[in-house]
Structures are given as structure tokens and as C-alpha cells.
Amino acid sequence: MRRDLLPTDAVAAGGTPEAADTGAGTSGAIGDDPGAGRQRLRFYQVGSFAVGNRLADPSQRTVQSDATRSNSLDSGHRACQGCGEALGARYALDAAMRAAGGQLVAVNATGCLEVFSTPYPETSWRIAWLHSLFANAPAVATGVAAAMRVKGRSDVRVVAQAGDGGTVDIGFGCLSGMFERNDDVLFICYDNEAYMNTGVQRSGATPSAARTATTEAIGPDPGAPFGQGKDLPRLAMAHGIPYVATATVADLHDLEDKIERATLMRGARYVHVLVPCPLGWGTASADTIAVARLATQTGLFPVYEAKNGSVTSVSKIRRVQPVEAYLGMQKRFAHLFGTPGRPDIVARIQAIADDSIARFGLLDSHAGEPAERGAR
């Protein structure tokens, strides 16, 4: 890697910087820990992502920038402009396709991704793809994996994907069963923090105080209640499965890297991707990446990896941001601001972010201490 050519803010983290080791899907990467020793490139965004990627060594560029990427989820689908889920799915599946050498089958739960990608008689999928029901994607994927095993197709990798509702709520029984049996499936949750396809209702992944169609911003406790909700990555870890990771659409290198390594592992793997939804969150279509990044930089969405039930790495926050910066961009939190606003609720959310920072050790000792946040 030619460090001198990178923008000053681009940092390389991880093992020995050997370019030959970075080609994902190379045979050297197969094994229990396919990502071990692989160069991992992280950008700290200051300008445009495209510039940073262009300056990287070709072998370290993203799957998305590769002209031979599979375009698993092709253009022409009907997602809203700026849909984080469409981005996330496209990034994730292209990475999985590259890692699997094209030998991939995807199972999809009902939800926005399924609906906007396959309006009869069209499909955006360029991969083998099956939609069965809302709640059963993990089990259907288990069935596909079993069929592949019995037919001796050890080369084929199976991915299942669902929204947060299909993962943390209605699909959780099947998912937990799939985890517990350590079935050979990579499950990807695209978390947009509500039931978007049915019109933005609260799910078990909806954050406290967020306005949804079933947690209206009215009354003394506007929005979704505090003290509820499920932290699925941690529940996945509690199953002791080989691999759990979180990621967002704001860090393409990190997302692709995690999907590639997860694809090449065996057993139950879980990747939880935060995918902002302009419609449900009330953000500008152009702000999808920015708002996803703020979710990580506030500490509200910790980005980490875990193996066999223990956290093995976390993405540190470069410059910690106050939650106001994140919440203020989104209409679903609009009731917390203005006059008089609800500074008390904002403070509770800040406390959640601080807890998350402490729990996962998201700050380097020298990096922005909470005091740096100024605005508080």
C-alpha cells in the first residue's frame, strides 16, 4: 500500500499491509478465520469517498468500485431515492458474491427489499434468489444450505437477509434456531429501525423517542418508549456463533470486508447493517451516508466484530459527536427540538450513547473525550 498517496485522514488498520493478501475471495482467505492478516482499509471521511478509493492501491479498492462486480441488486428497482437498505444490500451481496466466487444463493424475508426488488414480472436480482415469507428466512436458508450439503455443493454459500422487523421480531424464533444449530448460513439484517414496508411502524429495533406511525410524537412521552427494544447483535453473540458483526452503509470498506470474511466462514454468521431510511427517518435522500456515519460517531450504533461470542474488534470513534447532531437531522426526532423542545429526552439518549461508548470501548484514550463535545 502506498501510504503516501492516501489522503492524510485515510488510515490503514489491521495486519501486515500486503497487497496480495487483500484480494477477497482468494484461496488464501478460506479457513476458520479467512480475514486474518488481511489488510483492512478504513477511511475517515473528509471529502468525497470516490477520491479516497481512487488513491488506494487497486487491490484494496472496494468491491463496488470494481468494474467486474456482480451487480447482484441491479438498477431499476423501486426503492425510494437514497434508500439505505438498497445500498446496503447491493454492497453486501456484491461483496458476498465476490467472496463466494459467484456461488451464492440468497433467501429474502418479506419487507421493503423484497418488495422493491421484485415487482412481478420484473426482478432486480442477478443472483439465485428466493422469497418465501416474512418470518422464515433463516429457516428457508437452513433448508437451502442442507440441500447444498447433501448434494455435495460445498462451494455454494447461502445468505439470508431481512429487515429489522423480519430479524428481531417476527423472524427471531427461526433466527435463534438457525444460530443455535450453527447452520451454515450468513444472515444479514438491514436495520432501518422500523417496519418500513408497511408504513413506518415501531419494531423491536426502533430507538427510544423515535416517532413512528405506532409511536406518535404526542403526549408526555412522545415517540417510542424508553426501556424497550432488542439489541440483536448481542443476542446473536449470546448464541456463541462463530461470527457476529455490525456495520453501516457509511463505511463501505468495513461493510464489504466483514461480509467477505463472513461469507467465507462456516456455520451461523450474523451481520447487522444500519441502513437509514429517508422516508421513515425523515432525512434528506442525500444524507443517508451522513446520518449513518453520525449514528456511529455518536456511539449510538457501535461498530464491532465478535467471534464465538466475544467482541474481537471495535471501530473506534474518530471524533465523537453529540447525539443532537444525529437526532437533529431526522424528522422522526423533530419533537425533541425547537422551543421548548425536550432537552430531558435528548439527555437520556445521550446517556444511552455514553453507555454504548463505555461498553464497547469506542474511544481511543487520546481521542475525543465526552468533554470535547462542547455542545453539551
Partner: protein
Amino acid sequence: MLEQIEGSRAVAKTVARCRPEVVCAYPISPQTHIIEAIGALVRSGELARCEFINVESEFAAMSVAIGASAAGARAYTATASQGLLFMIEAVYNAAGLGLPVVMTLANRAVGAPINIWNDHSDAMAVRDAGWVQLFAETNQEAADLHVQAFRLAEELSVPVMVCMDGFVLTHAFEQVDVPEQDLVDAFLPPYEPRQVLDPADPVSIGAMVGPEAFEEVRYLAHVRQLAVLEQIPVVAAEFERTFGRRSGGLVSSYRAEDAEVVVVALGSVLGTIKDTVDERREQGERIGVVGITSFRPFPREAVRQVLSAARQVVVIEKAFSIGFGGVLATDVAMALQGLPPEVVSVVAGLGGRPITTVSLRRVLQAAVNDRLPPLTFLDLDEDLVRHELERMAATRRSGPTAENLLRDLGVPSGHIG
């Protein structure tokens, strides 16, 4: 080779000889012995090249079968009652996706009140799901129908449910000639799916279909079921040529040719009915029996043929549509439209209540004397019901009646189930 064997084991051995590649298991009485036995056959290596998966629910069982089948594997599961209802969304889905999953249904009542014993409420609850539903009269037929089920399912891309009466068949030991491996192999070719999840030829399966084509999709499912109707006798005939015994088919008929009164039923109760009919025949009454083997698709033409000469058709059924009446009787009456026989429904054997020769004799006598109303409940405890109705008239109270009845019977409910 005839052997003395439990019905569940005979079915398990037969299913194993059909070489399923993925078997999903979740326990529920009275299906448990079937999946236990298949699990053991996989463990011992007798059933090789099979993934036996202990899933976390029936919903997962059918979902795993869906994934396996869509990826080109021969998939099998078994369930009953609450389990079938727990998986119902996936039951519809398997049919909608045209996946040739085979499932044994060990027929059992559906709660509340929870009841583990035999009736046909579970099968009737998924009558419209798009599955082929075959009913076995004996354990021999239960075993044989599974071999035919895989053949039908895979030839026509439809899921097939083999219904066998819980306990009455599943737990009964009798002589069964378990289909021999070489004959099964000759009769049932390996599964070659028409459309499969294959990375080399990627297709999207399970897309959304709106009003522009949904009716057509459903109509074509119906047409496919009609094709099954044509195929069932063909497969049964080939089965007879291969195995040397008759099993399956659309309907079975016993002493019905010249009968004035014909009894129609599903499943194992046909045996008791035949015994009773033999006895009535000796008294000079012209009574016959028709068994419906293929309940879905419903063999309208075959039913018309065997019943058209009767004066009265008595449908004895182990389920009914609450608020209306007999389910099978409705189908039979529809099939006989424009023909003279009068169709009446006798609901019997709910929740495992035995259907005895004594009671059947009473029903048949009433039928011969033209005294059967359109809907009868066999052996209903009239006193118990009257008492509860009076109580309900006196004090309006919401909630379950089951506990009240048990109190009247002096049965502490803690001792039940």
C-alpha cells in the same frame, strides 16, 4: 415381506426408502414415533445422504423443507394438529411456490380445548391451501401412499400430505408389507426439479404478484390439481403393477354397486363402517361404503359415478365447520348436484371419541328408515349439553365451556391431557 409393525414405524421405514434428502423434525403427538424412527435410521446410516434437522418449530420445519425443496432436494416432514396450524403460513407458501414437499399428517383434533386424540379438524383447516391431501384407511395404505405421494408431488410440482389417523393408525401394530427398497427405487426416480436455486442459472423465486395476474396464478394451481386428479389413478395402477397390491386411487368402494344407502368417509373409520355394513347386509339392508382417498383434489366425477344410484348418502365425518356443518358432506353434495341422492352429514369421533359398531348400527338403521336429519352429532351427550345450555341461559358468562362440562362430569380437569 409382511411384518408386525407399528404404523408410525412402517411409515418411517417407507419414507426412508423413498430416500428423502432433507427431513425436518419437530415433535407433536401422535406424530412423534415417525420422526423418531426416521432420525434413528439416519443415525444408523441406513438412510444415507439425508440431512435430519431438529428444528425449533413446525413453522421452521415447513420453512426448512421449502428451502431444501427449492434448492432441489427431496424434502419431508411430519406433523399434526397444533403443529399444522402453527406452520400454516408456510403450508400455503410451499403450495404457492409449487414445491413437491411430502408431509405426513397424523390427524389429531385442534384445540382449545387441547386434545391429543384423533379427528380430522387439522386436515380440514388446510383444505384450501393447495396441497394434495390423501387419506389412508390402513397402515398398509399409509405406507404405500407415501411412495405414491413423492411420485405425484415431483411429477406435478405440488406438495402432498398423507393423512393417517392419529393413534388409531400411527400407534397400531399390525401386519404391513413395508415397500421393498428395490421396488421403491424402480417406482420412484430421483427428484429432478424443473426450476431450482442454482447460482449457475440464477432465477428469482417468490416474486410479488398483484391483481394483474393473481387470479390466473390461482386458477393455474387449480388446473394443476385437476391434473393430479388424472394422475392419481395412473400412479396407483403403476403402483399395483410394481408392488402387486392395490393402494391409493381416488375413491374406494365396498358393496356400493346396488346400495340404496351409501356411507361416505375418510380414513381408518372405513374399517368399522365396512364391518357394520356387512352385518346390515346380512339383515337384507342394501347398504354400501365409499371411501374418499383423495380429499384434495376432490374427485367430483368419481364420486358422482359411485354414488349416483344411491337413494341416500350418509357422510360420516370427523370434523365440521362450526356454524354450518359437515365439510366433506358439502363437497359430496356439490359433486352430486343434479342427481337424486340426498346427502346428510353425521359428525362423529371428535377428539378421539370411539366410533362404535353399536352407534353406527343405530345411524344406519335411521338412514334406511329415512329418519336422519341433514346434520347429526353421533353419540352426543344430550344431558350434559342441556345442563350447560341451561346454565348459560341463567348466567351469561364469557369464556370456555370445557371446564364447566368437566366439572359436571366430575372429572378434575387437572387429570386431562
